[in-house]
């Protein structure tokens, strides 16, 4: 996928999750739900913004 487009998708996802989080939080739901959302958001950032996989790129391998 075009990385620019992917960035927009991920960002939208993060925004939506934040909105859900805010809604849940202001209604005092069990903490665990908020943790799940926070971890999902974190994983999105790790994977798509921070490119965790690049860490395991071959030393001689190509560059995105």
């Amino acid at each position: 996928m075009n990385p620019l487009k992917r960035g927009i998708f991920v960002f939208t996802g993060l925004l939506v999750l934040t909105a859900i989080e805010y809604f849940l939080g202001t209604n005092q739901v069990p903490q665990i739900l908020l943790w799940v959302i926070a971890i999902v958001k974190g994983l999105l950032v790790l994977q798509f913004f921070m490119h965790f996989n690049r860490l395991f790129d071959n030393d001689e391998g190509g560059h995105e």
């Binding site: 990385p3 620019l4 960035g7 927009i8 991920v10 960002f11 993060l14 925004l15 934040t18 989080e21 805010y22 849940l24 939080g25 202001t26 005092q28 903490q31 908020l34 943790w35 959302i37 926070a38 958001k41 974190g42 950032v45 790790l46 798509f48 913004f49 921070m50 490119h51 965790f52 690049r54 860490l55 790129d57 030393d59 001689e60 391998g61 560059h63 995105e64």
Partner: protein, 188 residues
């Protein structure tokens, strides 16, 4: 012949630098984790008395800045210098806005003082340490922006951009955990 060797060398250095940066994140994450532990150990299921709207605004500001940071990195990897510079300057402005929101507004209007109980201690220390990282991130980005103007980065070689982007996203990641921990979790 020599260009191939130098490219291979660059790739090797890249791998080394990446690992080093990620290890730094791992280390720093333990510090942020320790503060998170302190928040739950001292306050447990008690929610801090904070302004919800303001919290949401600064969170969104930081999220948008992360989006532009990602955009800047993608732009430079495609060789789009102008787009890279534009995106990075937006990121920096949003970062400064975030700082202003937390330190300038939130700190001044909070319902409690630094020295008022565990709540004050936890809130000011967590946001303070995070804000300190945001500040260093902004400095890092300013350096990258300046060097970008000088045309130091190419589509192939722009590790400094990648590193600053990763650092910025790491700060965002910390806030993704801290925001619910400070504003949303627990009972009032």
């Amino acid at each position: 012949m020599s260009s191939i060797t130098s490219s291979a060398q660059y790739q090797k250095k890249l791998a080394i630098n990446r690992l080093g940066l990620w290890l730094f994140f791992a280390s720093d994450a333990f510090m942020f984790g320790g503060l998170l532990v302190a928040r739950f150990y001292l306050l447990g299921n008690r929610r801090l008395e904070l302004e919800q709207t303001l919290g949401l605004i600064v969170t969104v500001v930081l999220l948008v800045s992360s989006f532009f940071m990602n955009r800047a990195e993608v732009m430079i990897s495609k060789g789009n210098q102008k787009g890279f510079q534009r995106s990075i300057i937006v990121t920096i402005v949003l970062g400064i806005l975030f700082l202003a929101g937390v330190v300038g507004v939130e700190w001044q209007t909070a319902h409690f003082q630094v020295n008022e109980g565990a709540q004050g201690a936890v809130f000011y220390m967590m946001t303070g340490m995070h804000a300190f990282h945001v500040l260093t991130g902004i400095i890092f980005l300013l350096i990258v922006y300046r060097n970008g103007l000088k045309g130091k980065y190419t589509a192939e070689k722009h590790y400094a951009v990648e590193a600053s982007a990763n650092y910025w996203h790491f700060i965002d990641l910390v806030w993704i955990i801290y925001y619910p921990a400070l504003y949303l979790m627990g009972l009032i």
